[in-house]
């Protein structure tokens, strides 16, 4: 790809970007949120047309007109957003658009036979007839990867394939990538998890603000180099100092909590005021469920929660919010934000009563003031306070979610995958914010599937396995191995 330009209404997404990949090479594409990684790949994958620039495949000039054209050129694409249809079964999803057919009728048996090997390859122990709706998000993501593999493409683009995978699944995927590479298949790998990138990439291409920012060869790949390419400056590494303000007499406590997916497991734990409790586990361990149960958006099936030793009324998000328990959910766009609303309205939504007079009319001035304060305090990058949040990058969106809660009076904030899909720069800022909150006496529960993050930020780590907490690690016991053991159900 040479000199690719792309403009969206109001945004110059790509400015003469060059990109190439050789047969059997794994190239990682990195960059901050909104740097243009997905856009570049969407052009290669036939989703968008470039404004200008040339694309060559095997030395021939092509203009990729559509997704099916890209398919025909041997380009497979795992999109950043999940593109799985939950009304079809696994096999149907894998072969969607390329169904083996006779006289227009689908040959189900052939689909089954052809799907199985790919499922096996990815370690998915499911039948091709399983309805997708029965799978976990991680499994669905793997099905989507199976779909890309099944196209027997020569180039496979993976746009943040691991963002909803956990550690063991990620490891498996990385192994699959190296197998594919050995078969001569080229892979473009986009991720914000620089650890993975160092493990698998032969070469790293960085984008910054829609232009090429540089390339790293195999032996130049390390964390600091990548960061400086992406951000254009040195970033201080996330501090690892322990919380200084932990007050074990105060904070949050859950006793015998039951969540709907694991009705037979009772969960009890504490998060002290001033502490960050990390929560690790494999996908489907039930961490998000616990968060939602505490926050009151999942049904109350039993158990008690306390703030500073006082039991809290449960059963609705409203009650939890009143008690100072807030949730920054894992799916920002679906549950965290109303993406079409502007920053002001999103920040004020949960606390509108504070900005209204007795008869329920909104005082838009104080609403705006609060939003501007949060924009300043959290350093949200936005043209103005009345920009719809859909136009913000992932990191800034996450900060808006935070702004919503910080404009109130937090006692416990639950962060569910706080940095999913967020670039390093923004990550560091969010970590800093979390630590600052903790230092101000807030209890913080951080659910994360990013090992680096859990080990780096937490004061203690709770590990879950199939709905139970299998262990809580203190700082001196922190290690990847200990966490993995607990996460698969072995005691450490």
């Amino acid at each position: 790809m040479r000199g690719i330009n792309k403009t969206f209404p109001g945004v110059k997404a790509l400015t003469s970007v060059d990109f190439d990949i050789a047969k059997g090479e794994v190239v990682a594409l990195i960059g901050e949120n909104g740097a243009g990684k997905s856009t570049l790949m969407n052009i290669l994958g036939g989703v968008h047309q470039p404004d200008s620039g040339t694309i060559q495949v095997n030395g021939e000039n092509v203009s990729i007109k559509s997704v099916s054209h890209a398919d025909a050129l041997g380009i497979g694409f795992v999109h950043q957003e999940l593109n799985i249809l939950d009304n079809l079964d696994v096999g149907a999803n894998v072969f969607l658009g390329r169904e083996p057919r006779r006289m227009g009728l689908i040959q189900k048996q052939i689909i089954e036979d052809k799907t199985n090997p790919f499922l096996e390859m990815l370690g998915l122990d499911i039948s091709p007839n399983t309805p997708v709706s029965k799978l976990s998000i991680g499994q669905q993501q793997l099905v989507e990867i199976a779909k890309a593999l099944s196209k027997e493409a020569k180039i496979i683009i993976m746009d943040e394939p691991t963002s909803s995978l956990t550690i063991s699944e990620t490891d498996k995927l990385l192994k699959v990538i190296s197998d594919l590479k050995n078969e001569g298949i080229s892979i473009i790998y986009i991720s914000h998890r620089l650890g993975e990138v160092s493990t698998c990439a032969d070469r790293v291409v960085a984008l910054r603000d829609g232009s090429n920012a540089g390339t790293l060869t195999k032996n130049e790949i390390n964390h600091d180099n990548m960061v400086s390419l992406m951000v254009g400056r040195e970033l201080e590494r996330t501090s690892n100092e322990s919380g200084s303000n932990i007050d074990i007499s105060k904070g949050f406590e859950a006793k015998d909590l039951i969540s709907s997916n694991y009705p037979n497991c009772k969960i009890s734990f504490k998060v002290f005021s001033g502490e960050i409790l990390g929560m690790a586990g494999l996908v489907g361990a039930g961490r998000s469920e616990i968060a939602q149960t505490i926050f009151g958006v999942d049904p109350d099936l039993g158990g008690t929660i306390y703030i500073d030793g006082n039991p809290i009324k449960r059963g609705s998000a409203k009650a939890s919010i009143k008690a100072g328990i807030y949730l920054a959910p894992e799916d920002r766009k679906r549950t965290g934000l109303i993406t079409e609303f502007d920053i002001i309205k999103n920040v004020s939504l949960a606390s509108l009563k504070n900005y209204s007079n007795r008869i329920g009319l909104i005082d838009s001035e104080s609403e705006e003031t609060t939003a501007s304060n949060q924009i300043n305090k959290l350093n949200i990058k936005t043209p103005s306070a009345d920009t719809p949040v859909i136009n913000l990058s992932g990191g800034n969106q996450q900060k808006v979610v935070l702004g919503k809660w910080l404009s109130m009076n937090p006692k416990l904030i639950i962060f569910d995958e706080p940095t999913r899909g967020i670039d390093v720069g923004a990550k560091a800022e969010i970590y800093k914010l979390m630590r600052k909150l903790a230092d101000n006496g807030v209890a913080i529960l951080m659910i994360s599937s990013d090992m680096e993050e859990v080990l780096g930020i937490s004061d203690r780590i709770a590990v879950m396995h199939e709905g139970k907490i299998t262990g809580i690690l203190d700082r001196e016991k922190f290690s990847e191995e200990n966490i993995m053991n607990l996460a698969v159900g072995r005691s450490s």
């Binding site: 998000a317 679906r334 934000l337 109303i338 079409e340 609303f341 939504l349 209204s356 043209p383 919503k404």
Partner: protein
């Protein structure tokens, strides 16, 4: 990009476009209904005080229930039951004000007592609101699809209305009460109400139903665009889940939108049945739901929820009524009125979606 003029245009693009359409329609109709060559445009039949009174009375009635439907649409719901509910409430209201002997033989006719008309108004409003609450709970709480719940309403309420009127029409003239003042309130003008039927002049050209509409528009305009509850309505319509995650009981917010719709429908049902003088339950208010939806959509409410404004709904209603008035005044065959309405809605929506950029461009260039 940060041109404030453009910002205003952007935000109110739909309303402005439709206002333009309305103005064009008014001009065309006024021009076309001049006495040939003799009169100036402002002396046209369309702009005669009688005609303005007639259309503003209709805009009043249609506007009130369209506001209710519009609010439901903003919560990403829909209300198909409006027309049937109007028929049912019309029957109920007229039962309340007529003596039992004059009613046809049916269960409802037997159990409904004859009461003074003021009480009848309140009870009818109450029943309409209760029906709205029922539908609201089904949609908001039990999470049944609005389309289906209100489709069942469309079928059931009309069936009930017809059954309980034994399929004959109920006439307000059967009442033994003195309903003169009620008639003023329902189809009379402001002058009628203030002077008990003797007024004239400008006030005489302002029908009460239009006054009600103004009150409704101001009240619900403030509710929707300025109040906390209104914000919740928009938020629930855009993204119910995220709204819930902000600690808002969206079930109740959504249910309440249907309560409002029920109330608005009931409120419009009373002047409308006074306007028609009787309720023929098989046809009374037929297709009103479609007109209300069309008005809301023309006025910028998106069926996907979270978008729309009271002003837009008013403009949408006005366009529909003026269109039909135009067909009549031009003396076109009546059937064309619906065909033209369909065509105008279509062109409006098409332009809005695909000609939108052009409007923006005009303002961009001028800057």
């Amino acid at each position: 990009m940060n041109n404030p003029k453009l910002g205003f245009v952007n935000k109110n693009r739909r309303e402005l476009g439709m206002l333009g359409l309305l103005i064009v329609l008014v001009i065309i109709t006024s021009w076309g209904t001049r006495e040939s060559g003799v009169q100036a445009v402002f002396e046209s039949k369309f702009l005669s005080s009688d005609n303005l009174k007639n259309i503003s009375r209709e805009i009043g009635i249609y506007g009130i229930f369209s506001i209710g439907v519009g609010i439901v649409i903003i919560t990403a719901g829909i209300d198909l039951s409006v027309g049937s509910l109007m028929a049912l409430l019309g029957v109920v209201f007229l039962y309340f004000v007529t003596p039992t002997e004059t009613r046809p033989d049916s269960f409802l006719a037997r159990i409904i007592p004859e009461i003074p008309w003021i009480a009848a108004i309140f009870l009818t409003l109450l029943i309409g609101t209760a029906v709205g609450l029922f539908q609201g709970l089904l949609v908001g709480k039990l999470k049944l699809q609005a389309f289906i719940v209100t489709l069942c309403g469309l079928l059931s309420y009309r069936g009930l209305a017809r059954f309980s009127a034994d399929d004959t029409s109920i006439n307000i003239s059967d009442s033994s009460q003195n309903l003169e003042f009620l008639r003023f309130l329902g189809e009379g003008s402001l002058a009628d109400v203030l002077t008990n039927g003797n007024g004239s002049g400008l006030l005489h050209s302002i029908p009460m139903s239009f006054i009600y509409l103004i009150c409704f528009a101001i009240f619900f305009g403030i509710i929707l665009h300025k109040s906390v509850f209104g914000r919740y309505i928009f938020a629930s319509g855009r993204n119910e889940l995220a709204t819930k995650y902000s600690g808002i009981n969206t079930n109740i917010v959504i249910a309440f939108a249907y309560v409002i719709a029920g109330f608005c429908t009931a409120f419009a049902a009373i002047p409308f049945c006074i306007y028609t003088g009787s309720v023929q339950p098989a046809t009374h208010g037929a297709f009103f739901e479609l007109y209300a939806i069309a008005a809301a959509v023309l006025g910028g409410c998106s069926l996907r929820g979270g978008e729309g404004s009271i002003l837009g709904i008013l403009i949408g209603t006005a366009i529909l009524i003026v269109l039909r008035n135009m067909v009549n005044l031009f003396g076109y065959p009546t059937p064309l009125s619906d065909a033209i309405t369909g065509g105008v809605i279509f062109v409006g929506v098409l332009l809005d979606q695909h000609g939108a950029s052009s409007i923006k461009k005009i303002f961009k260039k001028s800057h």
